[in-house]
Amino acid sequence: MSPTATPTPTHADSAAYKLGRTYPDVPLEEKQRLFDEIKADERFHDYLYGCYECGICVAACPSARYYDFSPRRIAQAAAREDVELVYQQMQEDIWDCSQCFSCLRCPRGNNPGGIITVMREVAVNNGLESAKQALRGYTRIIYKIMSTGTQVSPDMLQADAFPDWGPSVAKVSQKLDLWRRALPPETHHTTTTGWEISTRTLVELYLIWHKTGALNMISELDPSLHSLLEEVMEDLLDEEGYELD
């Protein structure tokens, strides 16, 4: 689905329309449905209070310096309920955000970074193309977090994964087992997780993913990862005598 400019107006209040309507293949009703999903999130109303258009958020934003990205436009589109522009932003802008929350400098109390968090979740939940593209190459991270309860494991330090970090990565990788055994805290001797986690803790984590629907969030986005994680979790829960509803 590529953005296509067309002079045909369907939603004349939209800033996206004024700039040239985008994503004409997606019906307005679908864009409205996605926006309603964003707006129904409890956090949304904590994150948006209107916009002075002062641009303080843009001045503070690291992504605005390097990308065609503006937290001000995010807040404005949401405040105006401009479903055309919000949809366009979900496809083109939201994954540029650094989630540093420098935009919380907003004198109006807005949280554009928070609005983006919600927009991203809706994009993931609905399997939007932007989410699939943005998270390509990210599968291993999702797998690590959900299956181990830690994320940045020592064995991720591989020279071919981080060539721009220089020779220190290869050195760590070659000595990994030895250098982990040289760490004084007993919990730190593992190489596949950040620290040693008990089985009971992992069981509780898996139950959380199931009971809050977090595991199902990726079913649209990456069905094979979803199946793999489901299997890993069910195996452990079975072993430990837990039955899922």
Partner: protein
């Protein structure tokens, strides 16, 4: 120790030291709602009921930081990629004779799946946080959080749980299924707040002179931008106009804190960016942070207090130097490692500096540390592991 407010006011601006919040404009203190829900029996509040130090936060309020009897909520990035970070935190506790717990009943905050990929949701994140708080509560120890993102995220989670009845109910049902209470701690405490609180005690145990060491400080975004009221602001440091975190520890150790213009900028980490759009991270970290620090302050080291910031600022420098040999690098570490070095910690057996990328050896020399001898000691210790004389090094091995 004081850093005058003129440091932030600039040559043509009036300083804002006189600025004070009027009572009606001060945001509500979250404790009111927290204790109200506790009284209604909706949740359990884990109190700071052991020896503690009160530290100043925004709006003239204070926060209780427990000294000991703590439950260390570790950081996946620190333990995984910069293990000298957590090792130094533990070593300083041990050196001061303070007991603590390094639990196995702890998951990470899993906020990578929240801020990076959005493959989680508010209920899951709150349940993960509360499960960890309940695990700490079961031990009777107070949680102290190593990661800036975990700290910031948990502050957000606390707000959401206090504000939204439906979310609270959903998380309560999950916790019921786990057989755990819905617990929130009275205070959210980041490890760097503990270092701030203990800075004078740490300075009493200092064995290395840092009076010739100049530092720059990068305050971590998720520490003080998320739920801003709950971060340390000290009237004695920049007139309370900036967070005093890290800067005040460096000052207490006798180092010179130097200012630079892009102190408010993030490090460039960006979560998904450091993994999948790495050009952004590298460029931002080196051009907006390291280069500016070097040009404006020329520090011997830059100190920060979060996992992602240490990683990003440290590792990104290699590519900048490879592209431009005249690019001047700066060693990067946490203030925990810096404080440990001040107290005489071994640079490799404790601070694990060999996991870092930017050249730290000139800094060690300036600190009076013979890094060649120290490396030989580390190699000798690991040789014992290779020969099978020991399976692991211990805390006793770290104090050579």
């Amino acid at each position: 120790m004081t850093i005058p407010v003129e440091k932030v006011s600039g040559p043509r601006r009036k300083n804002k030291a006189e600025f004070e919040w009027t009572p009606e404009h001060i945001p509500e203190d979250f404790h009111e709602r927290l204790f109200e829900l506790e009284e209604k029996g909706e949740l359990v509040v884990q109190r700071v009921d052991t020896e503690h130090i009160e530290v100043p936060v925004k709006y003239g309020r204070s926060k209780k930081v427990p000294i000991g009897h703590t439950w260390h909520h570790k950081s996946c990035g620190q333990c995984g990629h910069i293990p000298g970070y957590s090792t130094s935190i533990f070593w300083v506790n041990r050196k001061l004779g303070i007991e603590y717990e390094d639990p196995r009943d702890q998951t990470s905050c899993t906020a990578w799946n929240y801020y990076a990929s959005a493959t989680s949701n508010a209920a899951a994140q709150a349940a993960v946080a509360v499960r960890n708080f309940a695990a700490a509560y079961e031990t009777g120890r107070f949680p102290i959080i190593h990661c800036g993102t975990s700290f910031g995220h948990y502050k957000e989670v606390r707000h959401e749980l206090l504000a939204h009845d439906q979310l609270r109910e959903q998380v309560r049902r999950v916790m019921d299924a786990l057989g755990k209470p819905l617990v929130l701690p009275e205070e959210m405490v980041h490890y760097s707040e503990w270092f701030y609180a203990m800075r004078h005690e740490i300075a009493k145990h200092q064995v290395r002179d840092f009076s010739n060491i100049a530092v720059t400080v990068h305050p971590a975004c998720h520490y003080y931008k998320l739920v801003e009221g709950d971060a340390i602001y000290d009237p004695e440091v920049y007139g309370g106009q900036r967070t005093a975190i890290v800067s005040e520890v460096a000052q207490a150790l006798g180092a010179e804190v130097r200012d630079y213009s892009t102190w408010f900028d993030c490090c460039g980490f960006g979560f998904r960016h450091i993994l999948v759009t790495r050009d952004f991270t590298r460029s931002f970290a080196t051009q907006r942070k390291i280069k500016r620090m070097k040009e404006e302050a020329d520090p011997d080291v830059t100190l920060t207090h979060d996992t992602g910031c240490v990683t990003t600022l440290d590792k990104s420098q290699f590519a900048a130097k490879a592209q431009d040999p005249s690019f001047a690098t700066i060693p990067v570490m946490s203030e925990a490692q810096f404080a440990a070095l001040a107290m005489g910690a071994h640079p490799y057996l404790v601070c694990q500096l060999h996991w870092h990328a930017a050249d730290y050896r000139p800094l060690l020399e300036k600190m009076g540390i013979d890094h060649e001898k120290a490396w030989a000691e580390f190699e000798e210790a690991t040789a014992r592991l290779e020969r099978g004389e020991q399976q692991y090094l211990t805390w006793e091995d770290a104090d050579v």
